[in-house]
């Protein structure tokens, strides 16, 4: 224990001098390291708890997200109309966002296989395309309809932004799709994609973390899933304990973040912990504030 007490500050001090840490925390010091650790810990803990619950047959509750409920509604409409549906990752490459959206795609693929509908997944990234093909094919197999899977439904359009957008528009209009799902990362082409769906009267559900594209989707799509709800979609649809636990952990991490923000506001406004006895009104004068956020320069 004594060893740990003496070692921990040394490790912190050594870590703070590392260029990588300085880069990652923008030179803000140990406080930032602490906060990063606090953001990572709750999801991992809650994942462990959720897995244990799952083994005991309990399920972790997560809040309702209307946008994700709308996915089922859109699929129902598509079945009624007997027309295909479309899904795109936009410009997302291999990364956390892609895997989060892949959860939605697998759900849709399973439903498409179950109700014998076509699902177009146009691609603009070859690596993403390989994983997507695999995932969609598996879903058809799991539903016992491997013969319904068409290889060119997951098709490559173009790696270029607007060429991809024009290809997407073309498919939309030619196939008269009844539902469009835009999940992933988008840039200027977002409105082109969403307007194409709007023009053919498709019900559209969009989900993105790109702040600049959210207004376009809100004005053009029927439902928009904003920010981290995209990451929650997979958990919501799949009932996977890892994803559900992670989602609950994220909520705890955000709560912690909120508490930090409130403490920060309180400290800056009222300066209750000033250790200098009021010689200087700046909150930076107190020892703990300097420890958390060392003054620059």
């Amino acid at each position: 224990m004594t060893w740990a007490v003496h070692t921990f500050p040394c490790v912190l001090a050594a870590a703070e001098s590392m260029p990588g840490v300085q880069h990652a925390t923008q030179g803000e010091g140990q406080g930032m390291l602490l906060i990063t650790a606090l953001m990572i810990a709750p999801p991992l803990i809650m994942i462990a708890i959720a897995r244990r619950w799952k083994r005991r047959g309990k399920d972790m509750y997560i809040r309702r997200i209307p946008g994700i409920d709308a996915i089922e509604e859109a699929v129902g409409r598509t079945v009624e109309m007997g027309r295909p549906m479309m899904f795109t990752f936009g410009m997302a490459g291999i990364g956390p966002l892609f895997f989060a959206c892949l959860g939605v795609l697998t759900h849709l693929s399973r439903m498409a296989a179950r109700y014998t509908m076509r699902l177009f997944v146009p691609q603009r990234d070859v690596e993403v395309m390989a994983i997507t093909q695999n995932a969609v094919r598996e879903c058809y197999q799991e539903e016992g309809r491997p013969e319904s899977y068409r290889e060119d439904d997951v098709r490559f359009l173009s790696g270029e932004q607007f060429a991809f957008a024009s290809g997407y528009m073309g498919i939309c209009h030619r196939e008269k799709v009844a539902a469009c799902f835009l999940f992933g990362s988008f840039a200027a082409e977002s409105l082109i994609l969403a307007e194409a769906g709007q023009q053919v009267g498709a019900i559209q559900v969009a989900g993105t973390v790109d702040n600049a594209q959210i207004p376009f989707f809100i004005t053009t799509c029927d439902y928009t899933i904003i920010g981290e709800e995209v990451f929650a979609a997979g958990a919501y649809l799949s009932r996977d304990p890892v994803q559900r636990g992670s989602l609950r952990g994220q909520d705890i991490a955000k709560l912690l973040l909120l508490i930090f923000i409130l403490i920060g506001i309180f400290t800056v406004t009222f300066n209750p912990l000033d250790m200098t006895g009021g010689a200087d009104w700046s909150p930076y004068r107190s020892d703990w504030a300097q420890w958390l956020l060392p003054p620059r320069g």
Binding site: V126, A130, F156, A163, I214, F231, S246, G249
Partner: protein
Amino acid sequence: MRKRLIIAVTFLGGLYFIIEFLLPEHFPSGFGRDGAWRGILIGEYHEEILMGVQTVGMAAIGLGLINIFRVFGVNVLKQRKGWPFSLTLIAAMLAMMTLTFWLWFQDLDLQHEVGPLGVQREFQARILGAVGRAQPPDPQAAQRLQRTRDAALLRYLSDKRKAVSPPAVSTGEAAAQLSGLAGFLEGKGAAPPFFQVADGPENPPGFAAAQDLLALPKEAETGGTPPPGLNTPGADARLSQLARQRDELTGRLLKSSETLKAQGGIEVGPVVTEQAADCREVAPEFRKLAQEVRGLADAEYAVRAEPPDFALRYGQGPVAPPLPLYGRLYLAARALSHSATLLGKYANVLDQAAVEIPAAKDNEQVLSNWLEAKAQRTEALRQEWQQGAAGDLERAMPAVKAKLAGASTRPDSVRRRMSDDLQNAGTLGSAYSQVLVHLDKAGAVLASRAGTAMNPRAAAEAIARALAAIRNQEDALRLLAVRGLEQDLNYLDLAPEDAGKIVSAELSAQADAKEGAIGRPAEVLGNVAAAAKQVADELNARRQQMQAELDASVRGLRKTWREKTSAELRKLRDEEDARKREIGTLQTRAIVAAEAQKMAADAAARAAAVPEVDALAKLPAELAASKSEIAAVSAVAQARKTVAGGYLRLLQGAAKIAERFESKHDMKDLRPLTVARDGMRALSGAVQSDSLLHSAASDSRVAVQALGLQDLPAARKAMESSFQQIAQTQEGLKDALQERANRAAVKGLYKCLFDGLYVALGAAMFSLLAFYIASAAYRAFRVKSAEALLMMIAALLVMLGQIPFGAYLWSSFPQARLWVLQVFSTPAFRGIALGAAVAGLAMAMRMWLSLETSAFYREEEEGA
């Protein structure tokens, strides 16, 4: 097994990148327990590892391309629906791939043409390295070293002069230093800090902080050697005279300080002002002294007898030289000037105190008087109330007795109620007595506070307690009536049961009369309570007002002091930083000087012991290698020269034809001719380069011969000339070939496809956005609900704030727009970004630790 392998590779890959990101490329020296650990230098190989990983990743692109050809190729072959699109895609991809490969090969060709010349550079670097190693010691180096040392000394002294400016200090520090001065002058304790030089980093090593700078060094300080005197004539006497003056001035300050002490510290009154005046008078004297001492120091510096390598030896640790005399004088001057500044500041603080403390005392007196008056008034009210209540009771008593006498037969229920009332009387009686006690206490507290020390808070609290008791006045009044009745019963000497009968009969029959009896005391008590409340309110208000005034006064004082203090602290901090930087510079300089000395010694030793033979011994092997390289380069140059001569002749001919054609047809702007002229210019450059290459090869040959004769300077000169010519040749060749490549048809085709089709079509798609934004905006701004209305209003505000017409309509539209964006939009987007960042972090951790069980791993799980 396969799944475990993937999980392990994922984890190790993630771990590698995290470690690589966190670990520095090079650890600072002294890291680790014995300072010898240099760390795990992953950074040295990171680029290679990264390229390997990327190459593996590129394989996925290859697989993807194959996939595309397979899928779309089948479409075309089987002529499925939409096959022309597939054909277009395949054709476009093939065309662009072909062109890109073609251009890539062209570039390779260019590199191949220019590349061999690089051999010469390596050769030249090796020769120059050998020549540099064997360089004999320069006879002028010692002089250069001497000049460097002199310059370093001058720079050091100039830096010291700059450092002598007085630092800013806080008033608290000034006071502390002045009291320290008083103690020192009395012979208690060490010298006050501002008569020393702070033992900070700017002091030369070996400088004792407590020594008297205006006295010449004693033998103990010089290590037993007789202390040197000042070199300027008459300076010794002047110095001791200055020291005496300083002592007189400090004596005067001591006297003033003693007076102040006798008055019991800082008090209101003339003493403070006198002290301030003293400080103010003494300060310029100190400053004069400082100027004189600095003059002495300058004079001394002009005739200094320091060793010239003083600055170089400075900062090398325990063997540092003693502080030179003029340096000592500079420091003394700084100390004096510093103390003058401090005294000025101290005087200001005293003046301020002399103004502010009496004002605070006046306020206290006013409050005290007022409290006393209020206490008297409260006491009077209390007495009046007691008398009034007693009189009212007396007046009411006969009526009550009469009614009691007449009331003997009343129902049992009334009797019970009456006996309950009697039961409660005890409790109410104690409450009533508490009211009186509290009023007494309040009065006493007010009286005592008003008479002695002021404590408005305690007085207000006492009054508040009294008020809290008075709040139950209704209960107290009821109690009053019942107690009066009880007394009456005692007086009549009735049994409790009979009394109950009488009382209950009376009370139920004559409720109005009872109220009438109670009315007067209630009114009086109400008046008293109102008066007491008023007094309390007034007291409270006054107290708050006084408190606010006091607070404002204290805040003002604190603010003034804080501003001063923080400004001074900031200055001190800046100064400290500057000093740290200076130390850094001096240390670096010392290290550089040490390195220079070491190198010089090294070179001298080498020159004396081993002549350049050592270096030359290694040369023959290099020469053999270089000769073959030079032969190769010369052959290339010769061939190129022949070709170039041919080109030149051809071009000259072409130019003549072109000129003739132009003069004949007057068609100077015709494109073919322009192209011909440009091409000729480019190829002329190439030919020129080739002649340069030729002479470069000759120079190389000269260099080799010179090396054979061990004439190193000549070899070096020839090599440098050769290198310059080769560099020019490379550039010229590269330009010429690039020009040729740019004019090739393939490049034209590539540009046509890229700029003419790809860019233009992309721009067309992008411009569609403008129309789509309009249609989306139309849909969004249809006011169908309250939210849509809000959105419409916000959008209107933002749009009007953005355009000049909005500002023309109302000048505050731009501010309103900013307000909407900053107050509503920015926090919302920040919230989204925070949530997404946390979710992304959690997702990344899940992927790294292979906790993610989405579609990617399912097959593996089932297979396992």
